[in-house]
Symmetry: C2
Subunit: 156 residues, 2 copies
DNA sequence: TTAATCTTGACAAAGTTAGTAAGGATTGCG
DNA sequence: CGCAATCCTTACTAACTTTGTCAAGATTAA
C-alpha cells in the first residue's frame, strides 16, 4: 500500500510549478534542481501530466511547463490518477486484471470494505488542490459530511 | 496502492473462522476449501496471524485454529498489520528504508499530506472488527468525529 | 544556426508479490 | 504403539512492478 515515487515526485514538482509559473513557463532543469530529482525522470512524469491535461508544454528555447488550469482546480486525486493510475485497494472486483477475481458473491463483505475504503480515499484526495498544498492549508474533512463545522487542520 | 492478496485472503479466512470456531478449532483444509485458497498459502498466512497473537493454534489430529480473543476485539487494522505490515502511503519520512528520504524540511507539505492520509486510513480500519464484517454491519465514520449522529452504512 | 527545451521509446537493475514445495514436529485415536 | 491428521518452518521461483537511466529526435527563441 503505497503511492509510488512517480506520483509523489510529480505532486511535489507540481506544487513547486504552481508557485513559480506565474512568471512564465518553468523548465524541467530548474524544477529538477529545486526538488533534487533527475531530469530524465521528471520528463517521464511531465509527459504523463501533459497527456492528462494537467500541464501545458511550451517547446523550444525559453520553453517549459505551466499549469493547464488554475491551481485551485487541480486536485491531488487527478495528479495521482494521471501518474499512478486509479487508486485501487483490491483488484478482487476488477475482472480484467490477471489476478483471480474473487469467486464469492458480488456483495462479498470484504469487497464492500475495500471498495468503501477506496471511495473514501478518493474523496479525500479530491478535496485537496495544488493551491491548498502550496498554501499549506488543507484538512481531511470528507465531502460527504457537510455539517461538520470545525476544520481539523493538519499541521504536524 | 494495494492491499496484498495475503492481507485480503487472511481477512476473509478470519471472517470465516470467526463464524465457525465456536464449535471448536477449524483446520486449514476446511478453510481452504470454503474460501478456495491454497492450503500452502493459508499456512503461511496463519503462521503470521499466530505470531501476531490474532489466532491460537491447536496442533495434532483434530487440531486447527481458533481466534485468540473475541471477534469484536480483532480489527481489520490488526489483521492487515500482521500480514502486510504497517500501512504506508509514502516512505519519504521513514529513514531506515532504502528509498531516498525526502531532503525537504520535516514539515514538507506533501509529507504531511501522506502522513495524514495514512492516519485516516488507519483510523478507519481500526474501527471495524471481525464481528462487524461477519455481521456485514460497518460504516466508515471516523473515530475522531464523534458528534456525527447518522450512521452512513455501506451496503453497495 | 545554435542552444535550450520538450518528446518518445527502449532498456535494465532491484525489489515485491503470489504463491509452490518439501520436510519436520506434535498429538489424538484406535 | 503407530499412524494419520494437523500445524510449523524455511526455501525457492516465476512474474510483475518500480525506479529510474539513456539516447536520439523535434521544435523554437535568439
Amino acid at each position: 500500500m503505497n503511492i509510488s515515487t512517480r506520483g509523489r515526485y510529480g505532486l511535489r514538482a507540481l506544487v513547486e510549478l504552481s508557485a513559480l509559473s506565474r512568471e512564465g513557463p518553468v523548465n524541467l532543469r530548474d524544477l529538477s534542481e529545486k526538488q533534487k530529482m533527475s531530469i530524465d525522470y521528471l520528463e517521464q512524469i511531465f509527459n504523463k501530466l501533459k497527456r492528462a491535461g494537467i500541464v501545458q508544454s511550451i517547446r523550444g528555447a525559453k520553453g517549459g511547463y505551466v499549469l493547464a488550469t488554475n491551481e485551485d482546480e487541480i486536485t491531488v486525486s487527478q495528479v495521482i490518477n494521471a501518474l499512478d493510475g486509479p487508486i485501487s485497494i483490491s483488484n478482487c472486483y476488477n475482472p480484467n486484471l490477471r489476478e483471480k477475481s474473487c469467486t464469492g458473491p458480488a456483495t462479498c463483505v470484504t469487497r464492500v470494505l475495500w471498495k468503501g475504503l477506496e471511495n473514501t480515499i478518493e474523496s479525500m484526495l479530491s478535496s485537496i488542490t495544488l493551491k491548498d498544498l502550496r498554501q499549506e492549508k488543507f484538512d481531511f474533512k470528507l465531502k460527504r459530511s457537510r455539517k461538520n463545522g470545525k476544520k481539523n487542520l493538519l499541521r504536524s
